[in-house]
């Protein structure tokens, strides 16, 4: 026992003990399922995992011929293209406006952060009711203003914008708070020097704030990208992929294949692997770009 304590007591070794809980959890709940998903993608296997049949890359071939899967990739790309830039830049602007520590800004920060702590289900149901084509508050208000009846959640071509808006509304608070924290770390002396040189607020923002918080910007950009490519909850609750599959994201479709119909775990895993590869490529490219800038 003494020997063991002595062995682990060295700083270089005890570090592993501190890391152990996190590493074990990471292996159990991330690495192992990932490896299993890779394995399952090569099998024709149902949800109960019995009677698995090895079929090689057939699931992947089927995915690229599946019009609903291709459509879901398109929808996910459109959603990401709308959600990420608007959220990353919108949160930056808002953060710049509420960065100073005064009561008013603290109240605004709390208000912006509120949707982050609400469940996606509650948010989805709330927006579904507010935007309902006939009994929704917003729809009725717009109609009473003479703007006609807008069917926000049932119009192909429009609904994807609505879903993106809900998603941005729900999560931009967290991005804004991260930006605020980063902005507050920028040395005040830089702003004082700029002010003495006659730089206005906008020039200060572009030439001092923006370059100083670049790592935070990249962090938010990468995490939002990965998050947007995996969008599920808001879509599942508000539109369930409709109307006419125009908001069916890749993860929504994967879920339906795995749990709603056919229970094809192998096929769902193959689609997950494809999505994983896409997210990985995008993230690596961004990481590379970030390092280049540094």
């Amino acid at each position: 026992m003494k020997k063991m304590i002595k062995y682990w007591n060295k700083p270089s070794r005890s570090a592993y003990l501190f890391l152990a809980p996190s590493v074990i959890l990471l292996i159990l709940f991330s690495v192992v399922p990932l490896i299993i998903a890779f394995g399952l993608s090569l099998f024709d296997v149902s949800i109960t995992m019995d009677s698995a049949r090895f079929i090689g890359l057939e699931n992947f071939a089927e995915a690229f011929q599946d019009s609903r899967f291709i459509n879901s990739l398109k929808v996910t790309a459109i959603f990401t293209g709308l959600e990420v830039p608007l959220q990353v830049l919108g949160a930056l602007v808002v953060a710049a406006l509420i960065a100073k520590n005064n009561i008013k800004n603290k109240i605004f920060r709390a208000v912006y952060f509120l949707p982050v702590i609400c469940s996606a289900t509650a948010i989805g149901i709330m927006w579904k009711m507010i935007l309902h084509s006939n009994i929704g508050f917003v729809t009725a208000a717009l109609q009473s203003m003479g703007l006609g009846k807008i069917n926000f959640l049932n119009t192909p071509g429009l609904t994807i914008f609505v879903v993106s808006f809900i998603s941005i509304w729900r999560s931009f608070g967290i991005s804004a708070i991260i930006y605020v924290t980063a902005i507050q770390q920028v040395s005040a002396s830089l702003y004082e020097a700029a002010e003495m040189d006659g730089a206005g607020k906008i020039r200060q923002f572009w030439h001092i704030t923006a370059p100083s918080i670049r790592p935070t910007f990249w962090y938010i950009l990468m995490t939002r990208f990965a998050g947007a490519l995996q969008i599920f909850d808001i879509i599942y609750i508000t539109t369930n992929g409709g109307p006419n599959y125009t908001t069916e994201s890749t993860v929504t479709y994967i879920y339906s294949r795995a749990f709603s119909s056919r229970s094809s775990m192998g096929y769902a895993s193959a689609m997950s692997v494809i999505l994983f590869a896409i997210i990985m490529v995008v993230t690596v490219l961004m990481y590379h770009k970030m390092n280049q800038e540094d």
Partner: protein, 440 residues
């Protein structure tokens, strides 16, 4: 200083060990946990404890909890039913079965036998081993729960779909509020009369995102989508005149503005903005709460003839149950369907409180049941008519037809991507692939 560092490290080591231990403990066998929680080892060894999983997360779940608690208190066999209600019941079940575990008893749609049939026991002997009278159960519902001569479920709840109409809107449109449409032609003409665009009122409330609703109506007009064709399955979409009529009617209703292009029509029904709709017994809860003056009746018949399409939910015993646990599950099922000294039973209470039609003749005969207008209407369907819902009841791919074929078909028609004929042709192709998959 050195000593302090040593103790700090030891403390950190201890915390790390505790974290790992707690992680492992979280995944430990729950049976052991419950034994300790009870603090009564004697009880758990003397009686039998059975686990019972279901997905009744709604208000009816509260009643189920109450009834199970009553059983646990009342039964003299020392049986304890440990119920687990989960909104994620399906994935919980599949994960458990995949891991070689699972509950003693589940409560689910009888269609679960197609997915989890390998994990379900034949419980046909429940009538021999208990005082339950097989003849009291409506045979067509028992058939729905069977596969060949094997019974996988004892009925618990019969879910049929019915027509609901708003009597006030009928009156406002100059229609007799006591006479709902009896044909689909009448449905269309009534819808036209009821619709009042200025008031956001629609005569017909058919959702493009509600495959169960669509399927019940389609079936009345065009029969089953997958039939038994001399021992092999055959999909019947393309060229099905009944389905063509239904889709044409739906498209016309939308184009004329008599049916909203809306996924969530239930909210509109409760808001009193829909003249006629089709839905399950749960629709009445929303209507009652909102104070809507409504009528309930059978869905108009079409050319496909008399039918009583339903989904039957039932109790089933899994393969993880021991003989002793199976017997305990039988006793619970027997209690559920047995009358007490006052002539009531949990099955009757459930039926009357939640508005689901009875699956036994004895419950249907009860005065309390007969007094309910809703239940009388629901029970007025011919019990001898086929109970198959959209596909032959022994076709395992019902979920695929409901989740993959019908939604794509109805969406493409509703949003004008395809003509009715093209939509049916595409549906036929998809259904053929599903049929082929299940015919292997």
């Amino acid at each position: 200083m050195k000593k302090v560092n040593k103790w700090k490290r030891l403390a950190a080591l201890g915390v790390s060990a505790m974290m790992i231990f707690s992680t492992v403990a979280c995944g430990s066998d729950s049976k052991e946990g419950s034994k300790t929680d009870d603090g009564d080892v004697k009880k758990s060894t003397k009686g039998t404890t059975i686990s019972f999983w279901n997905s009744f997360t709604g208000s009816d779940g509260d009643m189920l909890v109450e009834l199970v608690n009553r059983y646990n208190e009342e039964n003299k066999d020392g049986i304890t039913v440990e119920m687990d209600i989960s909104s994620d019941f399906d994935s919980q079940l599949s994960t458990a079965f995949a891991a070689g575990t699972g509950p003693t008893m589940i409560l689910s749609s009888s269609a679960y036998r197609f997915t989890y049939g390998d994990y379900m026991q034949d419980i046909g002997d429940v009538f021999d081993k208990t005082n339950l009278n097989k003849d009291d159960f409506i045979q067509s519902y028992l058939d729905y729960c069977s596969e060949g001569d094997k019974l996988y479920f004892v009925p618990f709840q019969v879910v049929g779909y019915y027509m609901y109409w708003n009597k006030d809107l009928f009156q406002a449109a100059g229609l007799n509020p006591e006479t709902p449409p009896s044909t689909w032609e009448e449905w269309q003409s009534y819808a036209e009369k009821i619709t009042d665009e200025g008031k956001n009122i629609y005569g017909s409330g058919i959702s493009y995102d509600y495959p169960y609703q669509i399927a019940h109506m389609m079936q009345r007009l065009g029969g089953l989508a997958v039939k038994d064709d001399n021992g092999s399955w055959k999909a019947d979409f393309a060229g099905n005149t009944g389905y063509t009529d239904f889709l044409t009617m739906y498209k016309t209703l939308i184009d004329n503005g008599d049916n909203p292009l809306e996924a969530d029509t239930d909210s509109m029904v409760s808001a009193g903005q829909i003249g006629m709709t089709v839905g399950g017994p749960w629709v009445t809860a929303g209507l009652d709460t909102a104070g809507v003056n409504y009528g309930i009746g059978l869905i108009p018949q079409g050319d496909a003839g008399d039918m009583n399409s339903v989904e039957v939910l039932g109790f089933s015993v899994t393969t993880t149950a021991s003989d002793e646990e199976k017997e305990a599950a039988y006793k619970f099922i027997e209690w559920w369907n047995s009358e007490n000294t006052e002539g009531s039973s949990p099955a009757l209470e459930w039926s009357v409180s939640n508005g689901f039609p009875a699956y036994t003749y004895s419950v249907q005969e009860k005065e309390e049941y007969k007094q309910s207008e809703k239940l009388s209407v629901m029970s007025s369907a011919n019990p001898d008519a086929p109970t198959d819902f959209i596909v032959d009841s022994s076709f395992p791919g019902i979920n695929d037809i409901l989740n993959d074929v019908i939604p794509e078909m109805i969406n493409s028609v509703a949003f004008g991507n395809a003509s009715v004929e093209d939509a049916l042709e595409k549906a036929q192709n998809t259904a053929d692939k599903i049929v082929e998959e299940y015919s292997k």
